[in-house]
């Protein structure tokens, strides 16, 4: 039994960042985590996936090296090696978080926690139960998990029907691979497996891939995927699935036609569920929303006094950077420091497939729906000097501004390094700069960022380079 100021239940990006911020503010902190520090992001999500995507990118680039006057031998890919590298990076990052805990004198309580009376948590590890108490607050940061699509007959079985967790641990890329769900995860794995030699079919029930992004972004990526030989089937209705030992048969209807397809492996990249089970939430008086997340106030308080929730478990968007920000805010709330509540309207979205997709704010359809008078500025990377030199001319920058004040309502970037470029717009929006301030800032030449300046110019009707 030990006593802390604050206990975090879960050491993912939300929990570990919150813990560090609490420690910075002079609080004593314990973090209960049964697996490794860093959570899904570090171990089974962002980091290993990004490592594989980088491998895919190199594979693609090397294949085009001859155009740049660099001749290589035959290009061979080995998913197993790429996977091992990605696992190494994951474990190094997890160790990095352990180091940060030591530096900030945060205690990692290994085990599985359940809320007890008041602000206590009982932790089971190796069959032993120990109770820890918090004097100030308990923060639930248990995250989410892949849940598969049992309703479509795609129960996860770790062999033929797998989730991203298993995909990150495969020795080799399968010959044929269906990916069900064309959100960020689905598109990223389509990219990786295609680069590593699988014949990839991307299935999406919505009428377009990346359905949460702007329609222009979806169309651009879909075009690029098709060009690279990824089969994309949208508005796909799965009518039946037969899961065999070495293959999966999927029958579907799309565009009025019926198809029957067979795959070596199916990756289910749709559906995540908040980890709310076996935490003693009900007994503690912590209520859930209709969608199964923990109900929180803007200050991240749950319905039980002294208990907070952050990250995926506290509701969408289920993004590491949203959880990290909530971690910082909850720490400041608990410590009674001044804080700025999470600005949920200004969280960037990033998909690391090639071309990359990034966005912030509203899509054009959302702006239309809100009946806001707007103007669109768009600049293609095909007209950007830097993009031409690197041979990465796919994509565009699209900026949606309101007519009267020039407020940046939304920004959408498809193309190389889009996920890096988006932050200029994140900073602009956070500081309420309008298109004029972006354009007034001098952008270096030749850079990809010039495309942002050009798109803002276009939004004001005075684009120079296209």
């Amino acid at each position: 039994m030990a006593q802390y100021d604050v206990l975090f239940l879960g050491g993912g990006p939300a929990g570990y960042v919150g813990a560090i911020r609490c420690a910075q503010l002079g609080l004593t902190v314990g973090v209960i985590e049964r697996e490794g520090l860093g959570g899904t992001c570090v171990l089974w999500g962002c980091i290993p996936a990004k490592a594989l995507l980088e491998a895919a990118s190199i594979a693609t680039k090397v294949k085009h090296a001859a155009e740049f006057g660099v001749t290589t031998g035959e290009v061979k890919t080995d998913y197993g090696v790429a996977m091992k590298r990605s696992r190494d990076i994951s474990s190094k990052n997890s160790k990095g978080v352990e180091f940060l805990f030591k530096k900030n004198k945060i205690t990692w309580i290994k085990g599985t926690g359940t809320l007890g009376k008041g602000k206590s948590v009982s932790v089971v590890a190796d069959g032993k139960t120990e109770t820890h108490t918090a004097t100030k607050a308990v923060v639930i940061s248990t995250g989410s998990r892949v849940k598969g699509l049992p309703q479509a007959g795609l129960e996860l079985n770790t062999s033929t029907v797998i989730s991203s967790d298993e995909a990150l641990n495969l020795d080799k890329a399968p010959r044929t691979r269906a990916i069900v769900g064309a959100g960020a995860v689905g598109c990223e794995f389509a990219d990786v497996f295609q680069a590593f030699g699988s014949k990839v079919t991307l299935l999406e029930v919505a009428p377009r891939i990346l359905p949460l992004e702007d329609e222009d972004s979806s169309a651009e990526v879909q075009r690029s995927f098709k060009k690279r030989g990824i089969d994309v089937i949208t508005a796909a209705k799965l009518t039946s699935t037969k899961v065999g030992k070495d293959s999966v048969k999927i029958s579907l209807e799309a565009g009025g036609a019926k198809q029957e397809l067979e795959f070596e492996k199916v990756l289910v990249a749709a559906g995540r569920a908040a980890n709310v089970e076996n935490l003693g939430l009900k007994e503690a008086g912590v209520q859930l929303t209709d969608r199964g997340f923990i109900k929180v106030t803007p200050k991240l308080e749950t319905t039980a006094p002294g208990i907070y929730a952050i990250g995926d478990v506290a509701g969408p968007p289920m993004l590491a950077h949203k959880g990290e920000r909530e971690g910082m805010v909850v720490a400041e709330v608990i410590a009674g420091k001044s804080h700025h509540l999470v600005n949920y309207g200004n969280i960037p979205n990033a998909t690391y497939c090639h071309p990359e997709v990034a966005s912030i704010g509203m899509t054009e359809a959302q702006v239309k729906e809100k009946k806001i008078e707007y103007k669109v500025g768009k600049f293609p990377f095909s007209a950007n000097g830097h993009a031409r030199t690197s041979g990465e001319t796919e994509g565009f920058v699209k900026i949606i501004r309101d007519v009267k004040y020039g407020e940046i309502l939304g920004a959408h970037i498809v193309g190389a390094h889009a996920t890096e470029l988006i932050h200029e717009l994140a900073v602009a929006r956070e500081n309420e700069f309008t298109v004029e301030e972006i354009e007034l800032a001098i952008h270096a030449h030749p850079t990809l960022s010039e495309a942002i300046a050009e798109a803002t110019l276009d939004a004001m009707g005075r684009m120079i380079h296209a």
């Binding site: 803007p298 700069f433 004029e436």
Partner: protein, 424 residues
């Protein structure tokens, strides 16, 4: 040898002054005693004169800027003289707060910015920061809406004014709400009623108003109140009631109903009385939300008749009765007793001839209505009687001066003594 031009104490009580206009340009030859600038003090507009012969080498403060006594405003010296030492010393002594641009270092910038309507001229130190940090979008929104951005409290990092603050100011809800009040918290709803449509204007405090506010508060407690009592002839109101009653029960109105109507109508004509004292400014309301004090077993409560100036006497009558009933049954919702712009208190039914009521801040006035009584008067050389009513207005002197309150009482007299005006 350069001579500094500083803000001088042009009245015994002056602590800061506003430089209204420069009378000389940079480069002009000036003689000792020449008028350099006009300065608004706490009392009046005064002339600031040169204390040396030479050339006005530098104007360091833009027109319209308030500056404490002692602030360096400019430099007089020989033509072409290097004055960097004089101005540099100011940079060192003034650049205390990294968030506040030091006035000298930024002087050229400030001068050009002062012309930009979107940028606030630096205001007096001490009350608000000399330069309100505001996002570009917030400045545009404020400029477009004609809002004085200096009067808006920022909720962004370090008090930065952002879009939501302008929106809150426009909806009248959040001008003074502190940072980190998340959207959707219930307090917004409570503040809803009074200022929904932005039907008000904020009047920045002039130097003289600031001094009035400060000195009178020192003298008489936080709200320096004075009282105006008038005796109104109710004869015509009585006639009106009689005539209306003859039309049938539907048309019965009480004296109080007529008074409510008269007060609401008069207030609509006197926004300077229908106002809120907000510390750094006065908010004059176009809409009249009339509070009426109701005694309950638990104590006093003041439910509000919203938009009383737009309502017919019948509706005022019905609403007043309804609110009084709810108040006594303790059924008033918070939004029904917040947001009044002016209040009335009537103790006539207790036979009180005359009394003074206590102002309900941030309102600036309250009317205390006594009992209507018969008085013997001489009419055309013969003894007669008339019904009179004594009304006392308590005024917050920080916002309402004697003459202003008196003019309102005059308007009210015209309404009450000629109730047909209420029909017009």
């Amino acid at each position: 040898m350069a001579t500094k031009v500083t803000m001088e104490a042009l009245s015994p009580t002056m602590e800061e002054g506003r430089l209204v206009t420069w009378s000389k340009n940079e480069g002009d030859v000036v003689k000792s005693g020449d008028v350099l600038a006009e300065v608004e003090t706490d009392k009046a507009i005064m002339e600031l004169v040169a204390r040396a012969d030479g050339v006005l080498l530098k104007r360091l403060v833009p027109e319209g800027t308030a500056a404490p006594v002692g602030t360096l405003l400019g430099v007089i010296g020989a033509a072409g003289e290097d004055i960097s030492a004089v101005t540099a010393s100011v940079v060192l002594s003034e650049a205390k707060d990294p968030l506040l641009p030091p006035p000298v270092a930024s002087a050229p910038v400030v001068l050009s910015e002062a012309k930009d309507p979107l940028l606030p001229p630096p205001s007096a130190p001490g009350d608000t920061p000399a330069f309100n940090r505001a996002s570009p979008l917030a400045r545009r929104l404020a400029g477009d809406a004609g809002l004085d951005i200096r009067a808006i409290a920022g909720s962004g990092p370090g008090g930065r004014i952002i879009k939501r603050d302008i929106e809150a100011a426009l909806s009248g809800a959040g001008a003074s709400s502190p940072a980190a009040s998340p959207v959707g918290e219930p307090q917004k709803q409570v503040l809803r009623s009074a200022q929904d449509d932005g039907g008000f204007r904020d009047i920045p405090l002039t130097q003289i108003r600031k001094t009035i506010a400060k000195r009178l508060s020192e003298s008489l407690g936080p709200i320096p109140t004075f009282f105006l009592t008038a005796e109104y002839d109710l004869s015509k109101v009585m006639e009106l009631r009689r005539a209306m009653a003859e039309l049938g029960d539907d048309f019965k109105v009480s004296v109080n109903d007529v008074l409510l109507k008269a007060v609401a109508t008069a207030l609509a004509q006197h926004p300077e009385v229908n106002s809120h004292w907000l510390g750094d400014r006065i908010r004059q309301h176009d809409r009249v939300h009339l509070g009426m004090a109701v005694a309950t077993d638990d104590g006093l409560i003041v439910p509000v008749i919203f938009d009383a100036h737009l309502k017919r006497m019948k509706d005022l009558s019905r609403e007043a009765k309804e609110l009084a009933r709810k108040a006594r049954e303790r059924k008033l919702k918070p939004e029904e007793y917040t947001g009044s712009t002016f209040s009335v208190s009537n103790l006539g039914m207790f036979g009180i001839d005359q009394f003074t009521a206590i102002i309900n801040p941030p309102e600036c006035g309250i009317l205390a209505i006594g009992t209507a009584s018969e008085q013997v008067v001489m009419v055309d050389g013969a003894l007669g009687t008339r019904t009179v009513l004594r009304v006392t207005m308590s005024c917050d002197h920080r916002a309402i001066d004697g003459a202003v309150g008196a003019r309102f009482m005059q308007t009210l007299r015209r309404m009450i003594e000629n109730p047909l005006m209420l029909v017009y």
